[in-house]
Amino acid sequence: MMPMQAASFQKRKAYLWMGAAGVLFSACYLGMSLELPFGHLDQPGAGIFPVVAGVILLIASLITMREGWQFEPAARIELPGGQDLKRLVSLMLLLLGFFIMLPLLGLLISSLIFCILLMRVISDLGWLRIVAYSVVMCGALYGAFVFLLKVPMPRGVLAY
């Protein structure tokens, strides 16, 4: 069964793009590696291994592009569309918001807000149940980790 309004992308193009991104990335990485000290054979420096790793990535990227070249043009990768895409983007934005709020507001409040909004996005429940569930869940997590196990999570301005 196909999801509603599914989008797709040519697999061939995806591999070519991924490989090209890898080539670009490894080129930048190699450039930076070459600035690190290499030392001498009896005192090998910090630059040697990154150069090796960078070359391996470069080769792997080229292989990715070559494999992409050989794919059937008909092979496609399914991407989310419509409502599915909206949900996925919402999740990412919520997570981003959560992580920005975390040091400012502390774990309890930011996780509560995150949890309430995420539940709203992924379920058809009413606000009342969502808030109730969220308070219980976030309260339990906070109690277990911060209160009981004393994990020093960010406390934020309200000291929670």
Binding site: L108, I109, L128, R129, V131, A132, V135, V136, G139, K150, P152, L158, A159, Y160
Partner: protein, 323 residues
């Protein structure tokens, strides 16, 4: 379900008010203190931190929670302590390497010297011990030095990373004795240098005593020398390098620091409590069991101590760079 929300809100606001109330410095401490440890749990800094914080709890009658903040040879945790609010509720452990050596080679740190943070107490010193395999051909330190001099650049001493306290004291020895001992870094803190010595891959290793005392007592390793002036009690057979005429006696040392700008009343109470802990019989017994040398010193003495180390390191770096 409404009451759940309500009670949560009430709880939150109540907490906010409680914490927001301006606590008077005289009342310090009114809540738990965070004790930052700039290394991984399980590192050499862990036992001493736990010991100190649990004793400080008893003196100050509040909780002292250890928070590990590893990375950057101890500079990340140190930076976190120094950037925290100077209210006496965030202090932490640091060591001579992070405080005196790292600022010399790492320009990106938030601190440059002992003026940038508040010294609170010096806890202990850990002399560096030179050990060899039990069946090694050198009977004593003199024979070892003789061979070092006759074959420069051939004798390898394992250390737990380049420019750590053991490496630096070996370099200091190279400087004053005109020798060329090669140091081999074994990182990872997993005693890999010990294995390399036991396996005969390198000639010797230099480390703080705690890591090796078990092997020395068991007779699998032998302590040739200790980089101190005067005997080091746990290793009675090791000859003190300082007494043999070489001025190479730097060990590593543990300190407690806080951010700059604490209210004087808070600082006095905190540093007195910390000094009381460091001077206590219980802490001395702990230090002895872990082969540390207890060295309780108050803020001003501690500052002088660190400044002196900075001086030595600066000169040593010039020497290393010339080579």
């Amino acid at each position: 379900m409404n009451f759940l929300v309500k009670s949560a809100v009430t709880l939150l606001t109540a907490g906010a008010v409680l914490n927001g109330a301006p606590a008077l410095a005289q009342d310090y401490p009114t809540r738990d203190i965070t004790f930052v440890v700039p290394y991984n749990p399980g590192g050499a800094t862990d036992p001493i931190s736990r010991q100190f914080s649990s004793q400080l709890e008893k003196v100050l009658h509040v909780g002292v929670n250890v928070e590990n903040k590893p990375g950057g040879s101890g500079t990340i945790g140190a930076g976190q302590i120094m950037r925290s609010k100077p209210d006496g509720y965030t202090i932490g452990l640091s060591d001579i390497g992070a405080l005196a050596y790292q600022p010399l080679i790492n320009k990106g740190l938030v601190y440059k010297n002992s003026d940038d943070y508040q010294p609170i107490v010096k806890l202990s010193e850990q002399p560096v011990v030179l050990v060899v395999r039990a069946d090694a051909r050198w009977k004593n330190f003199d024979e070892f030095v003789a061979e070092v001099k006759s074959s420069p650049g051939k004798i390898r001493v394992g250390v737990n990373g380049l420019r750590t306290a053991p490496d630096l004291v070996i370099q200091q020895f190279n400087k004053v004795a005109g020798t060329r001992i090669v140091t081999v870094p074994f990182s990872g803190g997993g005693g890999e240098a010990t294995i390399a010595v036991l396996g005969g891959r390198i000639e010797a290793m230099a480390n703080s005593g705690a890591g090796n005392i078990g092997h020395v007592k068991a007779g699998t390793l032998r302590a040739l020398a200790v980089f101190t002036k005067g005997k080091y009690e746990p290793f009675p057979d090791a000859s003190p390098v300082g007494d043999a005429g070489y001025n190479a006696t730097m060990g590593s040392a543990f300190y407690v620091i806080g951010p700059k700008g604490m209210p004087p009343a808070v600082l006095t109470k905190l540093s007195n409590a910390a000094l009381q802990v460091a001077q206590s019989e219980e802490f001395r017994a702990f230090a002895k069991a872990n082969v540390y040398v207890a060295e309780p010193k108050g803020p001003s003495e501690m500052k002088a101590d660190i400044d002196q180390f900075s001086q030595i390191y600066t000169e040593l770096l010039k020497f290393i760079d010339q080579r």
